[in-house]
């Protein structure tokens, strides 16, 4: 059996962190979820983990104060490639703005934009599991 994936949730909404952490754990695709209410803190954590970072999936909110989802991606872009390779990023947002959607599609680091609320079936399909 394949090892379970490690998940990071980055969202300024305490509700959404709570909901999606629970949902991910319940779904059985992971037993390890780490939540951050600030993209900046999440970035610091990734850097500090370095080589110890397990294969991970990030679910990234878009609209956040201080550093938003796209700003996070810009910073992510300058991280060491070895670190980047361990991480798969999905944007998770309630946005319906076409500019956001186009921008997310155009980004090399964002695998897809998943609409809120998160559907486990969709996520599984995107992850190929």
């Amino acid at each position: 059996m394949k090892p379970l994936l490690h998940f990071f949730l980055i969202d300024d909404s305490a509700f959404d962190l709570f909901i999606y952490e629970k949902l991910l754990l319940k779904s059985g695709i992971t037993d390890s979820v780490k939540t951050f209410n600030s993209a900046r803190d999440a970035l610091k954590h990734l850097v500090s983990q370095g080589a110890n970072l397990p294969e991970s999936v990030i679910l990234l909110d878009l609209q956040m104060p201080d550093m938003n989802g796209f700003e996070f991606i810009e910073e992510f872009d300058s991280l060491p490639p070895l670190l980047q390779e361990k991480i798969r990023i999905f944007m998770l947002s309630s946005t319906i703005d076409t500019r956001d959607i186009d921008k997310a599609r155009a980004s090399l680091h964002i695998l897809d934009l998943l609409p809120k609320p998160l559907e486990i079936a969709t996520l599984k399909k995107k992850l190929g599991i």
Binding site: D12, S13, D16, M64
Partner: protein, 363 residues
């Protein structure tokens, strides 16, 4: 509103024409005269005029040539050419090309000139108003744009949270934990409601007709306090007031309520729960001319780099469970509409002081 005088620049190489023009019209208009086109350009650099009158026959260049030269650089003033009969064809040509609005033939007659100036000023004023409306429309459009963008977040996000909780609750077999989910739904709905109320406040403020009445700060503050003290996030916060109102202060009570509500609510929302005695202190000093309102708290404070941005629409400082980024924007707009100012001084971890100065509205 007091009407500004009509400003006119008159260029003619014959000094006695300048003198007689000035003598005839100085009571009605604010007139600047010069006999040199070179000097006229210098004057235009420094002053704004509604109307420029120029004689056609001048040394160096003709009136039409002068207008051609200045037209792109100073497009706003309305151009009137003064000519003798011999130059009629030049004048007609200039009008057809759009270089001048009208021409006045020499020797001019008082009523004719007055009529020409008054028509020219009408056009100037209409263009000016149009430009002003354009600026306002542009601002309104930008706000609308931002609004639509934020609607996707601030209106949809709480709804999507509710939907997410419902999905999760449906997976749950344990009936007891349903209550926990219901509580989350309640909070999310509440947040959405607050945002909608804010938006309505904003539109009332932006589009509504101001109603000026006598203000009792004592009453207003009591009223605002009554609505907030039962908020769950109020906690152990201690609110003190020091209201010193001397004489009648007139203002728009709706806008003042928006200002007090948001500033005090922020002090409650961003209180520092790690401190033993959270407070918000409200000081009001009002005279018949002006009021100074100070809201001071020992909450979490605002970063230096955020202090100039917090009044912008949809800007949210801080990463914790903050607001929608519209409260202080509405406060700023309301204060601007009342002809007042707001400033903030704050340091992180210590607290914030908001100072509002607004004039009494005398009508």
């Amino acid at each position: 509103m007091s009407e500004k005088p009509i400003t006119i620049l008159y260029i003619d190489d014959e000094e006695h024409n300048l003198h007689s023009f000035k003598a005839s019209f100085r009571k009605q208009y604010s007139i600047t005269v010069t006999s040199s086109v070179v000097e006229a350009e210098e004057i235009l650099e420094k002053n704004d005029f509604c109307i420029i009158l120029a004689d056609q026959r001048m040394p160096i260049m003709t009136g039409v040539q002068f207008f051609e030269k200045i037209r792109t650089k100073f497009p706003k003033p309305i151009r009137i050419l003064i000519t003798g009969h011999t130059d009629i064809s030049a004048a007609i040509d200039a009008i057809n090309k759009g270089e001048v609005f009208r021409f006045i033939d020499k020797p001019w007659d008082y009523n004719y000139v007055e009529n020409a100036i008054s028509h020219a000023y009408d056009i100037y004023k209409t263009r000016e108003d149009l430009q002003q409306r354009n600026i306002e429309l542009q601002k309104a459009n930008e706000e609308l744009d931002k609004f639509v963008y934020s609607a996707s977040h601030d209106l949809r996000a709480p709804l999507m949270s509710v939907l997410g909780i419902v999905n999760l609750a449906l997976l749950e077999d344990d009936i007891k934990s349903q209550n926990e989910y219901l509580e989350l739904i309640r909070q999310s709905v509440k947040k959405l409601d607050t945002f909608i109320i804010n938006i309505i406040d904003y539109y009332k403020n932006a589009r509504g007709v101001p109603v000026v009445t006598d203000i009792s700060f004592e009453e207003l503050v009591t009223e605002v306090q009554a609505t907030i003290q039962y908020l769950p996030e109020y906690g152990n916060l201690k609110m003190t007031t020091d209201i010193d109102q001397a004489g009648v202060f007139k203002s728009d009570v709706m806008k003042l309520r928006i200002i007090f509500n948001n500033l005090i609510n922020n002090a409650i929302k961003f209180q520092d729960k790690t401190k033993p005695n959270q407070f918000v202190h409200l000081t009001i000093k009002s005279t018949p001319d002006a009021a100074r309102i100070i809201v001071e708290d020992n909450g979490s404070g605002i970063k230096d780099s955020d202090q100039d941005k917090i009044f912008k629409m949809f800007y949210r400082a801080g990463a914790t469970n903050s607001g929608s980024g519209i409260g202080l924007y509405i406060v700023h707009e309301a204060i601007a509409k009342l002809g007042g100012q707001i400033k903030v001084s704050s340091s992180i971890g210590e607290g914030s002081i908001f100072e509002v100065n607004i004039p009494s509205i005398h009508k």
